[in-house]
Amino acid sequence: MKYLDEYRDHALALRLVNELNRMVTRPWVLMEVCGGQTHTIVKYGIDHLLPSNIELVHGPGCPVCVTSLEMIDKAHAIARRPDVIFCSFGDMLRVPGSTTDLLVLKSRGADVRVVYSPIDSLKIARANPNKKVVFFAIGFETTAPGNAMAVWQAHKQGIRNYSVLVSHVLVPPAIASILQSPSNRVQGFLGPGHVCTIMGYREYEPISARFRVPIVITGFEPLDILEGILMTVRQLELGKWEVENQYPRVVKREGNLIAQDLVNKVFEVGDRKWRGVGSIPKSGYKLRYELRDHDAERIFEVDEIDIQEPAVCISGLVLRGVKKPHDCPAFGERCTPEHPLGATMVSAEGACAAYYAYGRHLQQHMRRKPGVDQRSAVT
């Protein structure tokens, strides 16, 4: 397929790796921000191709993973109501709250529907005027324009039975929070290509300057990732820090201004709790007051639900790049995609789930046997 296949060329990938080998003189720790990038890295084994002194740690950019337990419990409380049709992206259905998940609720008779686009949930609201239709509006900045458009159209067209449960998260405050942490190891970032398609990358420039850290806005195909790594390492080796754009075929510095405009009309920035991490100030979007008639938290009075997460797993440390999935004793044993214990295993884009999907839990078993070299066990 055009713009995908070209960026998966094997021979070219190996050349990029050779170039990297020539360039690198000392160890560096890089973080890819997006879950989609993590998925590409683990799927294609990019981390195993890299020089051994370049370490990739996996970032917090999986919105399904970081949606807080209490927000999921709120979704469940709303979906249980007989007067409600609850619409969600498919990947939220199996994410466990404190007692159940949406798929189980559906099997017990709740009207839970999977939609591909927020616009589909609006159509359901139009077709079911006697029901209250609620859309679970999660995501990073990439998804915000779609969710904003659904709310805006409902507002403009007077669709009064339509509301959204908003749990939007923002990337820049998460990056700043990682860099501020005393346990931070990350020296350079592969920035979020699709978030920046919308937002541009101006807001990453002060972060790069303040923390003296290279940020390279990077795409999602294997060659994109390798070139992003190369550009980041080049900056580190030269002692530079700036924001660079590896992904100019879709990302412009100013982003998509029309989309930003509607997002700002519908949402405002507020504090947000992240699963596995806790509350980060000004790290999410909430609905503007003028659109409160479409705010599911207000309509269904679930804003009192306040859940503390059990400290059963190390996903918070994985999301901040301090630990790797196989550093956790539960990984692949007590904690699997079928029975996830925490944030990074609940969605396919979470670091733990990606490691599991591509057999890295088998590597863990090998590693635990004395005398088995980790690298040779995999390759």
Binding site: R15, G36, I119, D120, I138, G139, E227, R249, V250, L262
Partner: protein
């Protein structure tokens, strides 16, 4: 979740509420997309689509340039390491 896929725009229309919509072809699968955020996109161009919304156009010139740079690096390293 933030994954967006390039699709070729094959049709542009407006829905009953005046929203700019269209159809995009993703390697044989045709889906409806909202084009409100890409008013400049025309049929035949590639747009990057996420949850049914075109987030931006894929810049063919930039795509070609990035790929050419990668290929040049390829040739360069072949010159440097003929045995590799």
């Amino acid at each position: 979740m933030c994954l967006a896929i390039p699709g070729k725009l094959i049709e542009i229309s407006q829905d009953a509420h005046g929203v700019r919509m269209g159809k995009a072809n993703f390697g044989g699968i045709v889906k409806q997309v909202c084009l409100e955020y890409t008013p400049e996109a025309i049929a035949g161009e590639y747009v990057l689509v996420h949850v049914g919304f075109a987030l931006g156009r894929v810049d063919e010139e930039e795509a070609a340039r990035t790929y050419k740079l990668l290929e040049e690096m390829h040739q360069l390293s072949e010159l440097e390491a003929p045995d590799a």
